[in-house]
């Protein structure tokens, strides 16, 4: 097999799995069977190809449309993981909602293929193709609970605003293409470094800026976040986890690759990148936390939480522009997204378990006193909350610690201090949930224990253990992300 084919193997494998799932949907009756098949095909085809390629150190073909370096493979691995977890959680969730359609799993896998495309694209066209493959699947997935008004509304809202932001992104791409006469990342970089910009700098800067707006939207950074709380709240909970974790990680992956391979070529663009990400990141952390404080609904609170986390990721992405910090910051961001995956999927999984069939979100009231009625679930949820808040001995603490550590090392004390203050505000609303779990308000009866299947509990245990294990022994993950870069 030629290297060119090898390089597209993970994406192709996931695409193939998606096609298989859609074909099988014609004959399969049971959503459960489809789910198990979906998980198996993702793990075997997707996970297998990632492992095989990783063991060979990745495959990079010059001038190909995608790059399959170890950085891309790291992200591919995360996507396989999150997709499998989400599918496994869907088994119980959609059964409970009586909307277990067999097509669900095909779309999840297709979205995963899109994420992989976004993470490994080295060309504006493949970048856009990956982004839209992912987004279109998300639009469908968000509306999967057809009987629930909120789900359909979330789907439509996401679609319209997504299209709106894609317009910015496409216009940005067009200007970038016009300025450099190339769609290939390498080609644009060459044009930038040689100064061969036909349309002049203003158009280049405008293109760069509009392109970033598209990214900000996908990362749900404030003020481009408006869709996120509504969509995350209305969408089926496992799908919310997929969007919040997979979608954002993919957008971050795309941002990392295009920055490292294109925008480092121009000092002016790198500086703008730094300032834009830092400013938007800090605004996101502060405003997001302040709004989150007032939330009473868990999914909405988690939506704001994911917005704030995107803010921390943005600080890391911005710091990539500092050449002396680049290696350390990249490792920190990769650690952060992996940490974010474990704890956030876990948190959404608990939200899915507690959610009653007729509701699409629950208030804190449904969680109050779970510490006595469902102690194990409550203990796990506390672990996820503490980790999201960034309490030591959890993986969330280390994620923040590495990002701030890099910022401090680079001498960006003000950014680091502001970020830390934001993190302190954020602690409040996570602890509010923990307090509700263990100390129900006076005169309140503890909420009844929700039902959870043993598979869900096993997955939750796995993620809780991962959150703690990686928080105590981060060596496994730090070794993995050390020295990763674009090939």
């Amino acid at each position: 097999m030629s290297d060119l084919l090898w390089g597209t193997l993970p994406i192709a494998a996931m695409g193939l799995a998606a096609c298989l799932m859609f074909l099988l949907a014609a004959v399969l009756k049971s959503g459960r069977t489809a789910g198990v098949l979906g998980i198996l095909s993702t793990l075997i085809l997707g996970g297998g190809s990632v492992l095989v390629l990783w063991s060979q150190g990745g495959k990079v073909v010059p001038a190909a449309l995608v790059s399959c370096d170890k950085l891309a493979l790291f992200f591919d691995g995360l996507f396989v993981l999150v997709a499998s977890l989400v599918m496994a959680l869907s088994l119980e969730y959609f059964e409970k909602k009586k909307a277990h359609h067999v097509e669900l799993y095909g779309f999840i896998i297709l979205a995963t293929a899109g994420m992989m495309g976004l993470a490994s694209a080295t060309n504006l066209i493949t970048f856009y193709l990956g982004l839209e493959t992912m987004s279109l699947s998300f639009y469908v997935l968000a509306g999967f609970l057809r009987a629930h008004e909120n789900s359909v509304e979330a789907s439509l809202k996401y679609f319209l605003l997504g299209a709106f932001s894609s317009a910015f992104l496409l216009l940005g791409m067009a200007f970038l293409y016009g300025s450099s006469a190339s769609l290939d990342f390498g080609g644009i970089a060459t044009a930038l470094s040689t100064g061969a910009i036909p349309l002049g700098e203003p158009i280049l800067y405008l293109g760069f800026f509009l392109f970033l707006v598209g990214l900000f939207f996908k990362l749900s950074l404030i003020p481009f976040h408006f869709w996120a709380p509504d969509v995350y709240q209305g969408a089926p909970t496992p799908i919310t986890a997929l969007m919040a974790v997979g979608g954002k990680t993919a957008a971050a992956a795309g941002a990392i690759r295009i920055f490292l391979s294109v925008f480092t070529a121009s000092q002016g663009l790198a500086d703008k990148w730094f300032h834009l990400f830092m400013a938007v990141g800090l605004i996101t952390i502060f405003v997001g936390s302040m709004i989150a404080v007032t939330q009473r609904h868990i999914k909405r609170l988690l939506a704001y939480s994911s917005i704030v986390h995107a803010g921390f990721i943005a600080l890391g992405l911005g710091a990539l522009a500092v050449a002396s910090l680049r290696e350390q910051v990249l490792a920190a961001v990769l650690f952060y997204v992996a940490a974010y995956l474990v704890m956030n999927v876990g948190a959404f999984a608990v939200a899915g378990v507690v959610e009653r069939p007729e509701n699409y979100d629950e208030t804190l009231r449904s969680y109050s006193g779970l510490g006595t009625t469902a102690p194990y679930l409550a203990a796990l949820f506390s672990v996820f909350m503490l980790s999201l808040a960034g309490i030591p001995l959890t993986v969330g603490f280390l994620g923040k610690f590495y990002i701030f550590g890099a910022l401090v090392k680079g001498g960006y004390y003000v950014v680091a201090s502001l970020g830390l203050i934001g993190a302190v505000i954020a602690t409040y609303y996570y602890l509010k949930v923990v307090v509700a779990l263990y100390f129900p308000a006076a005169g309140e009866e503890p909420a009844p224990a929700p039902k959870a299947s043993w598979t869900t509990l096993a997955l939750l245990t796995l993620m809780g253990a991962g959150t703690l294990y990686l928080g105590i022994f981060p060596g496994l993950l730090t070794d993995l992300v050390k020295g990763l870069g674009i090939g």
Binding site: L161, F209, A279, T372, A379, L398, F473
Partner: protein, 689 residues
Amino acid sequence: MIPVSLLWLIPVLPLLGAFVNGVFGWKWEKDRRNVISGVALSSTALSMVLAFWNIATLWATNWGSVPERVGNVTVDAAHHAFALHLAPWLPVGDFLTGLGGRGHFNVEWLFVLDPLSAVMLFVVTFVGFLIHVYSVGYMAHDQGYFRYFAYLNLFMAMMLTLVLGGNYLVMFIGWEGVGLCSYLLIGFYYTKDSCADAGKKAFLTNRIGDMGFAAGLMLILYYFGTLDMAQVNAIAVGGTIPPWVITASAILLFVGATGKSAQMPLYVWLPDAMAGPTPVSALIHAATMVTSGVYLVARSNGLFSMSPTALTVVAGVGCFTALFAASIGLVQNDIKKVLAYSTVSQLGYMFLGVGVGAYAAGVFHLYTHAFFKALLFLGSGAVIHAMSGEQDIRKMGQLFQKIPQTYRTFLIGCIAIAGIPLFSGFFSKDEILWKALTSGDGPGKFGPLYSKVLFLVGASAALMTAFYMFRLLYVTFFNSDRVSEEAKHHLHENPRVMTVPLWILAVGAIICGYVGLPKLWTGSENVWERWLEPTLYLPGGHGEMAEGAHQAAASGAEALVHHSAGLEWGAMGLSVLVAVLGIVWATLWYKRETETPSRLAQALSGPYKVLLNKYFVDEIYFGAFIRPFVTMSRIASGVDRWLVDGTVNVVAYSNEVLGMLLRFFQTGYIRNYGLFILLGVLVLLYFYF
């Protein structure tokens, strides 16, 4: 080497026990309490067995022929230390230190087994296990059985982390962890306000100390470039660090120690901490947690030895606390309060020991104290249990016939703490007093006057100790019978699950001192000192001295000036004399009911009231710190309510207003979002282009 690589399991096993009981215990609370105690006891017992295996390995190691590294265990033969490098934790990287050198901020999960941590390991696991056993009986009728054992196991896990931690940060996890457990257990009967308040008091007082500790760690990291304790000690004695840094970091660490180990001026929480269940008082507030400050100083001995100023402070604070707390103990009427002040006073002795540079002697007293004080506390618990919860000794008397087992073991504890020869307390207390007397030319460079003052104050505290302990014994078990009819009805000897641990500890309180017989008696070197000697870091670096000189220097002042055997016999005679004097005095006044104490209290009503009210320290603190602080908090809370909450409310309210506005345009919802995004784009564009 096998046991050393399993060192991490020693804290993890009780942690697992805490997890199981904490999560599933509520199911067994009602009718399967033996499952709860089974989980708690077996995890602690396994941890103890593993600890003993490790200590035996340490004992049997031939340091001349150990490899430098086996797997992830490194060996430091000069200091008889095994270090288990379990995994990295905070690998941050290199930085520029305050002295312009290269610092390494790479914190790992480092567990160290050396003679010093072995002593603590033995005390914590052995006494801890006995107290677990005792608790099965003591807590049998209490609500929250699973909660109690989950906390107790969590405490063991944290305490063992503190003990085994090879760098300050791992130790700090344990340090904060035991503080949390102490808070939870003091406030165990949280429905009683006094208990909840006592828990808060302990937690807040400890925060002050912990702030000192944390500041000390930052200073050490910045100037020493590492938090590894062995490295910090080695760098400190290497002489490259400016003296003020050493003094400042040592004193900051000591501030942390005064909080945790209840020394002046932060001792106030410990007497109140007696609100917790009595086995907790025995384990946490007598035998283990409160001694961790002493352990911290002994662990950082290289640092402290290099700073005469810090040692002067440590010895002075310890000595003064010993006398001060003992004087309060003279007149208290609550059986546990007397023991609490006694603990504060004995901890003062330990600090006196480490403060005069006699680290081995200080740790020796820590070790013997763990036995007799745990014994006394458990004994007091047995009395309280038998008396259906009564704690006031004025309502007891003549109990020796009713609860003979408890009486006999309590008597042994009293003799041991009073310092009667051949009981453990004598050896350690005498060692400390002797080292204090001869400390004039020790590492603290105290001079003849200060060392004599330390000795005399220490001896007076010993007199008081003997007096108040026997006063307690007589008033409780002899004197006149003042037990109420109600209590008499229920009065019974305790079940075996409680008396057996008492007897084991009593035997320990008699014999545990024999590992440290003074050289004066045996003619050969003190076994205890020889065991701990490799853990000491001496000025000028460890390996650089000739073996003989090194050995001599290790035994403290003796190396520099030879003190006559006559002087040592004299000092020993004096400490025996004060102990006997104290006991005789208590016998005359309290064995039978006499008028003397109350007449004296009337005659000297002023001083008596001052002592009875504990020098009014709580009241002074309340006026000087707490009231101003509360006023400040009120103001801050006002600011919070108006400004912060106001802001939050405005944000929330504006959201609602926005929400209401948007509700008008049912389909305009998304258009609004689009508009905001467009606005965002324009604003960013305006600022950047």
